[in-house]
C-alpha cells in the first residue's frame, strides 16, 4: 500500500459521497428509505450517454439537461406516488421504491441491454503527478464536485429560508404546516433535488467507470454504507463516510489484497453500527430528544415563523 493508493482511494470516496448524498437527504427530510436511489443514479448516467451520443459534449455539461429532467421526473413521482404512501406505513414507500427500482432496471435493460456502457472525457482518461504520486483526474473531479455539492447543500439547509422550511418540515411537519409550510411541496422539492444529485453522481460514475442496469442494487448498497457511516441525515458526514469507504478499501486492498476490500468495508460498517449506531458524526445524546434524524440544526417552527 502506498500514499498514492490512499489518496486515490480518499478522492474516489468523493464519488461515493455524491452517490449517497441524495439517499441521506430523502431519508433525513422525508423519512423515506428510497430503494429506487440506485436506479436514479443509473438513470442519470444513461440520460447523459444518450445526449453525448447525439451531441459530442463533455459528459458533465449534460447535467444542464439531465439534472432538471431527473428533478422533474422525481418530483412528479413523489407527488403522484410516494406522497400518497408516506405516513400510511413504513412498508408502503419501501415497497413502492423497490418497485420503481425493478421497473427502472427492466426499462433500461430493454432499451440499453445489459452490457456496460460508458462515456469518454479528457478528465476521465488522465492523471497528474502530485508530490510524486499519480492522482487520477477523474477522482479529483469527483471529489471536488462532492465537496461543492455538499457545501452548497449545507448552506441552503442552514442559511436560507427555504432550508429552514425544509428542516421544519422534517422536524415537526404538523406545526410547520400550520405556519404555512407546504409539506408536500417541500417533499417534492427534496426528492427532486436528491434525484438530481444522484444523477450527477451517475454522470461521473458513467464517465469514470461504466454503468449497466445491474449496477442499481450495488449502488444502493454503496449509498447505504456511506450514509450509515456518516450518520443518517448528516450532510457533511456523507463526505466523511465516502472517504472512509474509499480509504479502507484502498488500504486493505493494498495491504492484504483487493479480495478483502469489500469484506473490510462491511465489517467496519457492522462495527460502527454496534458502537456508533447513529453514524460517526451524529451526537449520541441529542440536545433535544424529539429532534428527528434529519439535517443538522433542524429548524424549529419558530425559526420558520421568523
Amino acid at each position: 500500500m502506498t500514499a498514492e493508493a490512499l489518496v486515490n482511494g480518499a478522492l474516489l470516496g468523493g464519488l461515493y459521497a455524491l452517490v449517497a448524498l441524495g439517499l441521506s437527504l430523502v431519508f433525513g427530510i422525508m423519512r423515506v428509505v428510497n430503494l429506487a436511489h440506485g436506479i436514479i443514479v443509473i438513470a442519470g448516467a444513461y440520460f447523459a450517454i444518450v445526449i453525448t451520443r447525439q451531441v459530442p459534449v463533455d459528459p458533465l455539461l449534460t447535467f444542464l439537461v439531465v439534472g432538471p429532467a431527473i428533478f422533474l421526473i422525481a418530483a412528479l413521482t413523489q407527488r403522484l406516488l410516494l406522497q400518497r404512501l408516506i405516513g400510511q406505513s413504513l412498508e408502503a414507500p419501501l415497497v413502492a421504491t423497490f418497485g420503481l427500482l425493478l421497473v427502472g432496471q427492466g426499462l433500461f435493460t430493454y432499451v440499453f441491454g445489459t452490457s456496460p456502457l460508458s462515456m469518454s472525457a479528457p478528465w476521465a482518461q488522465n492523471s497528474i503527478s502530485v508530490f510524486g504520486m499519480s492522482i487520477l483526474t477523474v477522482n479529483m473531479v469527483a471529489f471536488a464536485l462532492a465537496v461543492a455539492v455538499i457545501i452548497a447543500t449545507q448552506l441552503v439547509l442552514t442559511r436560507t429560508r427555504f432550508g429552514a422550511a425544509l428542516r421544519a418540515s422534517a422536524s415537526d411537519p404538523e406545526t410547520a404546516s400550520t405556519l404555512g409550510v407546504n409539506i408536500n411541496k417541500m417533499h417534492a422539492l427534496t426528492f427532486g433535488i436528491a434525484a438530481s444529485i444522484a444523477a450527477l453522481a451517475g454522470i461521473v460514475y458513467g464517465t469514470g467507470l461504466s454503468v449497466n442496469p445491474n449496477d442499481a442494487l450495488p449502488m444502493l448498497v454503496l449509498g447505504f454504507t456511506v450514509v450509515v457511516m456518516g450518520g443518517v441525515g448528516n450532510v457533511p458526514g456523507t463526505l466523511v463516510g465516502g472517504v472512509l469507504v474509499g480509504v479502507v478499501a484502498a488500504a486493505v486492498g493494498g495491504l492484504i489484497g483487493p479480495v478483502y476490500s469489500p469484506i473490510a468495508v462491511n465489517v467496519l460498517l457492522l462495527i460502527l453500527l454496534l458502537v456508533r449506531p447513529r453514524g460517526l458524526f451524529v451526537r449520541t445524546t441529542p440536545r433535544k430528544p424529539k429532534t428527528p434524524a434529519v439535517t443538522p440544526n433542524a429548524a424549529t417552527p419558530a425559526e420558520v415563523a421568523a
Binding site: 486515490n8 423519512r31 428509505v33 452490457s115 460508458s118 476521465a124 469514470g208 445491474n214 443518517v232
Partner: protein, 430 residues
C-alpha cells in the same frame, strides 16, 4: 418514528439490500435465491418454432435457459439468435427425421438472469413443465455447470458451447453422463495469449488481473503454469472480487513491473474500470487481453480505448467448418464483425449436433439421444468438424482476435489471420 427507530430501519433495509445485491450480482456458483430470481420485470420466457418445410410429426421440444439479463446478458441475444436460426433452417428443410417421420423442432427459451440458481430452476422447469426431450446450454462455467448437473440428474441429454471444456469437465468428479460441452480447451486457450503476443516484440513479462470466480481462478492458474513453456514470466498477479471499481494501485504495480503483456480474466464492468485506469495512468502494454470481458461489446463499453484489445477466438472461416461463413455473413450486421457473431455460430452448431443425434437415435427417448450424442464423430457443423470424446467434450480450434475499429479480425495463427496485430495497444496510448 423516533431517531433510534429510523436508524434501525435504515440499517435493516441496508442489510436487506446488501443481501439482495450480493445474490443478484453473483454469477458464481452456489448463490441463494436473489432479487433477480424473483424479479418479474426482468424475466423472459419465449418459444420459437417453425413447422414449415413439410414436417408432419409432433414437435420435438428443445429447451434452453439463457442469460438474457444480468451480468452475462450480452451473450444471451446472439446465442438465442443462433438457436432460433438453426431451428428455423432445419424446420424449413423438412424437420428432423425420426425413424422415418419428419418432425419439426420447437425451441423453448427461458431467461436465467445470469444467475446459477435460476439456471437450475429454469432447467428443471424446461424438463417438467415444457417436456423438453433435449437441452441446449448457454455460456461460461458458472452457468453451464449447474445446467449440466440438472441434465445429469434428470437424465436428459444436454449440449453446451461457449464454455471452456476443462473447467466444465472438472466439475463432475464421476464424469458427465448426459451433458456435453463443445468448445475450446483451456490449455490451448491460455497458450494463445503467449503465442499471439510473440507476434510483436516484447519483454516476455506478464501481469495477470483475475477475478475470484471459477474461471478467474482456473485460468489464472493455467497462465501461471503455461508461461515458462512459452518463454514468458508472470511478474505479478492481482485477484479481485467481481464488482471492483478501483484498480489504481494494481495498475501502478503492473506498470512498475514493466510488464509488456497484460492478461485479465474479469467481468465486463470491471474490465472497463481496469482499461480506464490503465489509460489514465498512462500504461500502454504491447499486448493486452481482456478475456471474457473483451469478447462481445467491449468497443461499446470503453469506446476508443478498446482499440487493440485482444481476446481468444473460436471460429475462423478456414477452420474446417461447413457453412459457417453464410451464418457469419447473415449475422455480422446485427452482432458485429467478430465474436458476437461467433457466438451465433457456436449456438447454431449445437442445434445441428443435437438434431443429428436425434436422427441417428431414431427416437426422442432421452437415453437413445444420449447414446447417439456420445457417438458423434466427424460431424460437419458451422462451428467446426465435431467429434465427441469419451469425456463428453469436443475440443474446437482456438485463435486470437483483436479489436480493430468495430471489428475483431483474426490475428493468430498466421494461416488464418485476416489482419496484422496492432502493437503497442493503440487504445491505451498516453
Amino acid at each position: 418514528m423516533n431517531r433510534r427507530k429510523s436508524v434501525a430501519a435504515v440499517s435493516t433495509v441496508a442489510a436487506l439490500a446488501m443481501t439482495l445485491a450480493a445474490c443478484g450480482s453473483s454469477s458464481g456458483g452456489g448463490s441463494s435465491s436473489s432479487a433477480a430470481a424473483t424479479s418479474a420485470s426482468a424475466s423472459a420466457s419465449a418459444s420459437a418454432s417453425d413447422s414449415g418445410g413439410g414436417a408432419t410429426g409432433d414437435p420435438i421440444v428443445l429447451g434452453t435457459t439463457l442469460p438474457l439479463t444480468g451480468p452475462l446478458g450480452v451473450f444471451g441475444p446472439p446465442i438465442q439468435a443462433g438457436y432460433e436460426q438453426a431451428v428455423a433452417a432445419i424446420n424449413a428443410a423438412g424437420g428432423v427425421d425420426v425413424g422415418g417421420t419428419k418432425r419439426p423442432l420447437k425451441l423453448v427459451i427461458k431467461d436465467s438472469k445470469s444467475d446459477p440458481t435460476v439456471v437450475t430452476s429454469t432447467t428443471k422447469s424446461l424438463i417438467t413443465d415444457d417436456q423438453a426431450v433435449a437441452l441446449l446450454g448457454s455460456v461460461t462455467p458458472p452457468l453451464t455447470i449447474p445446467f449440466s448437473v440438472v441434465a445429469d440428474q434428470e437424465q436428459i441429454p444436454a449440449i453446451s458451447s461457449l464454455t471452456p471444456t476443462l473447467a466444465w469437465k472438472g466439475a463432475s468428479a464421476a464424469g458427465w453422463k448426459y451433458a456435453y460441452d463443445v468448445f475450446v480447451d483451456e490449455v490451448e486457450q491460455t497458450a494463445v495469449n503467449f503465442q499471439a503476443s510473440d507476434l510483436v516484440e516484447n519483454n516476455k513479462k506478464v501481469y495477470l488481473f483475475t477475478d475470484t470466480e471459477e474461471d478467474g481462478k482456473a485460468m489464472g492458474g493455467l497462465w501461471e503454469q503455461q508461461a515458462s513453456k512459452y518463454g514468458y514470466t508472470i511478474v505479478g498477479r492481482s485477484n479481485f472480487p467481481p464488482g471492483t471499481t478501483d484498480f489504481t494501485q494494481f495498475v501502478q504495480k503492473a506498470k512498475d513491473s514493466g510488464a509488456d503483456v497484460v492478461i485479465a480474466q474479469i467481468i465486463p464492468p470491471d474490465a472497463v474500470a481496469l482499461w480506464k485506469a490503465m489509460k489514465a495512468l498512462k500504461y500502454q502494454p504491447k499486448t493486452a487481453w481482456p478475456e471474457k470481458a473483451g469478447t462481445v461489446g467491449f468497443n461499446q463499453a470503453v469506446g476508443p480505448l478498446a482499440e487493440g484489445a485482444s481476446v481468444f477466438g473460436w471460429w475462423a472461416p478456414k477452420n474446417g467448418n461447413e457453412g459457417g461463413q453464410a451464418v457469419y455473413d447473415a449475422n455480422k450486421a446485427q452482432f458485429g464483425d467478430g465474436l458476437g457473431t461467433a457466438c451465433v455460430i457456436a449456438a447454431y452448431a449445437m442445434v445441428q449436433i443435437m438434431a443429428d443425434a436425434i436422427t441417428r437415435a431414431g427416437s426422442t427417448e432421452p437415453d437413445a439421444i444420449n447414446t447417439a450424442l456420445a457417438a458423434t464423430k466427424d460431424l460437419p457443423t458451422v462451428l467446426a468438424k465435431i467429434t465427441i470424446g469419451p469425456d463428453h467434450r469436443a475440443v474446437t480450434p482456438v485463435n486470437a482476435v483483436q479489436w480493430q475499429g468495430d471489428a475483431q479480425p483474426i490475428v493468430w495463427p498466421a494461416d488464418q489471420a485476416t489482419a496484422k496485430m496492432l502493437a503497442p495497444v493503440p487504445g491505451l496510448a498516453p
